[in-house]
């Protein structure tokens, strides 16, 4: 007890020999160790094993055919048309979802950044989709798109968007729009919340000064709001894109990657290969490829960020 006193009196000396140093160096690890151990054992070690799987043949359906195969899995990937299809689909899925989520989210954030009647209630209601379990979002949207019990095909047919009320999930040309719509519904609150927080951090005086100087609302949006939000927007959008590229739940439940692989993205391809085909080696090779794509993307992100900060 007394040493604790002394520590404080002397302002926690960084002496290498006292009990003070011991506490100073060791105590944080006491608090951290459960978290670090669990992350290492449940995430980092399996990650290393997963990377090792990608150069092995591990198929639960062929238990006698296991072992090191070098880059065979990757060579197979190169010839796998399903894989390249999934690669382009991943791009469209991510691009479509992020763009729509962002613009709708920005609109919502701008609306909520100014006071109006019933704002608190509105805020609670429009953020609700974030809390809905993802499997339920997927099921709900596939039901909404089903002409038997869902209204959407009938509305679209009435508006002339569809020739007749059919299920867009069963048509390879339109199927990707289904999961994207569900994802937009789910993701708008996320962008709205983060952008709203950023909007509220812009000093009010700036807008008042602009107003006195006779700036229009559009001018204060483009000259004050956007430059302020710019860097934050860039980072949020780019990080979110990584998350969405990895996000398999919606597509897996809504279409399972079909019809004819038209909605198969890399993450659903990993899951179906591991879960349905039980081919762990090949699934891991796809996963490593996805990781590679994400790393390249992250490198571009860091480069862009460095440029943004410089100018």
């Amino acid at each position: 007890m007394t040493t604790a006193h002394d520590n404080h009196a002397t302002g926690m000396p960084r002496s290498r020999f006292g009990r003070a140093y011991f506490r100073y160096a060791v105590e944080p690890w006491l608090y951290l160790s459960p978290a670090v151990l669990l992350i290492c054992f449940v995430m980092m070690i399996p990650l290393a094993i997963g990377i090792a799987y990608s150069v092995q043949s591990i198929n639960l359906l062929k238990p006698f055919d296991t072992g090191y195969v070098g880059l065979e899995n990757f060579a197979e990937l190169g010839d796998d048309r399903k894989f390249w299809r999934a690669m382009t689909n991943t791009f469209w899925w991510t691009f479509g979802s992020v763009t729509l989520q962002f613009f709708l989210g920005l609109g919502l954030a701008l609306l909520l950044s100014r006071p109006f009647h019933g704002k608190r209630a509105v805020q609670a209601l429009v953020f609700l989709p974030w809390a809905v379990p993802t499997f339920l979002i997927a099921l709900t949207w596939s039901w909404l798109l089903n002409p038997v019990i869902g209204p959407l095909p009938h509305w679209w047919a009435a508006m002339g968007i569809l020739e007749e009320p059919y299920n867009i999930l069963s048509n390879p040309d339109t199927a990707m729009w289904g999961p994207i719509m569900a994802n937009v519904w789910y993701g708008v609150p996320f962008f709205a919340i983060t952008l709203l927080a950023a909007l509220q951090s812009i000093p009010h005086e700036l807008y008042e000064a602009a107003e006195i100087d006779g700036a229009s609302r559009w001018q204060s949006f483009t000259k004050i709001t956007l430059p302020f939000l710019g860097p934050m927007i860039a980072i949020t959008v780019m990080l979110r894109a990584i998350w969405i590229a990895n996000f398999a739940d919606l597509i897996y439940v809504m279409t399972g990657g079909g019809p004819a692989n038209s909605t198969q993205i890399l993450s659903t391809y990993i899951f179906t290969t591991a879960f349905r085909a039980l081919d762990f080696g090949y699934a891991s090779a796809i996963a490593v490829a996805l990781l590679g794509v994400l790393l390249v993307y992250a490198a571009i992100l860091l480069f862009v960020r460095a440029k943004l900060v410089k100018t």
Partner: protein, 280 residues
């Protein structure tokens, strides 16, 4: 000199219209879920796409609750989500406290480790985890799910707890320590009561995440007794895909816990999402 357009009636009407659009967009799918769940089975095909059900019944809910396995799935999910939330919150509180109060060698590396776990595709480890869990003989056990979910949620929960601890002045525990408390006593008696709202919010975030996790549960659980709600519902859908009313009634039931927890954590959404709170 032109009159400011800020209070022009047209503009404010447009604004309320936009607000109405967002509210309708957010609520319509949920309304539809509830509507079909309340529609009697014999009317599904005639009433299916009508905006308003002509008759309302609770039969679907009754069947789901009393004549199916959903209550069991629901119970499994509650056990898994609550235990995960409690374990994660405790572990993350300790780690978040260390991040907030200590400057120590290696801190940077732990932060990098935690950020790294948020970046790589989680599906990368689904096969190794299956193998490990299988070799431990723990397939189809809720414990394995709890351990896996706890680890997945620790990083963001730690950053979240750190932000709550950062909001509490250091002077408080220093004063307590000068008065003779050890650091742990100060933490327990002075700091913890002050972070209770933050701890509750973390609990809520983790619960919501664990409640909706599907893919690892599909991989690790295939016995009916150990299925969590998402797995049970999905199995039900693929087996009896025409019992629309019952499926949606089950969906509505799955929605209830998340909505409750959502109300609970609503105030902390900004803090939670900026710490990287994601589901699944």
């Amino acid at each position: 000199m032109a009159a400011r357009t800020r209070n022009a009636p047209v503009l404010s009407a447009g604004k309320y219209l936009a607000v109405a659009f967002y509210v309708a967009f957010a609520l319509f799918p949920l309304y539809w879920l509830l509507k079909i769940a309340l529609t009697p089975e014999r009317l599904i095909y005639s009433d299916g796409t009508a905006l308003w059900p002509s008759t309302v019944t609770l039969d679907n809910f009754r069947t789901v609750i009393f004549a199916s396995d959903f209550l069991g799935y629901f119970g499994n999910s509650v056990i898994v989500s609550l235990t995960t939330a409690a374990a994660t919150s405790m572990i993350a509180a300790a780690a978040g406290y260390a991040f907030s109060r200590f400057a120590f060698r290696g801190k940077r590396w732990v932060v990098v480790l935690m950020l790294l776990t948020q970046m790589f595709p989680l599906l990368m480890i689904i096969a190794p985890i299956y193998k490990i869990v299988a070799s431990l003989g723990m397939l189809n056990s809720l414990t394995s799910l709890i351990v896996v979910y706890t680890a997945f949620n620790i990083p963001f929960a730690t950053f979240l707890m750190q932000s709550f601890f950062d909001g509490i002045p250091k002077d408080l525990e220093e004063a307590a320590m000068i008065d003779g408390c050890t650091r742990f006593q100060a933490l327990r008696k002075v700091i913890l009561p002050l972070t209770l709202p933050g701890l509750a919010a973390t609990l809520g975030f983790v619960f919501t995440a664990a409640w909706s996790e599907l893919l690892f549960a599909l991989m690790l659980i295939n016995s009916n007794d150990a299925m969590t709600f998402p797995v049970g519902l999905l199995t039900f859908v693929s087996k009896f895909s025409v019992d629309w009313g019952q499926m949606m009634a089950a969906g509505v039931l799955a929605l209830i816990p998340s909505c409750l927890f959502f109300l609970f954590i609503q105030r902390y959404l900004v803090q939670g999402l900026t710490s990287g709170a994601v589901k699944g």
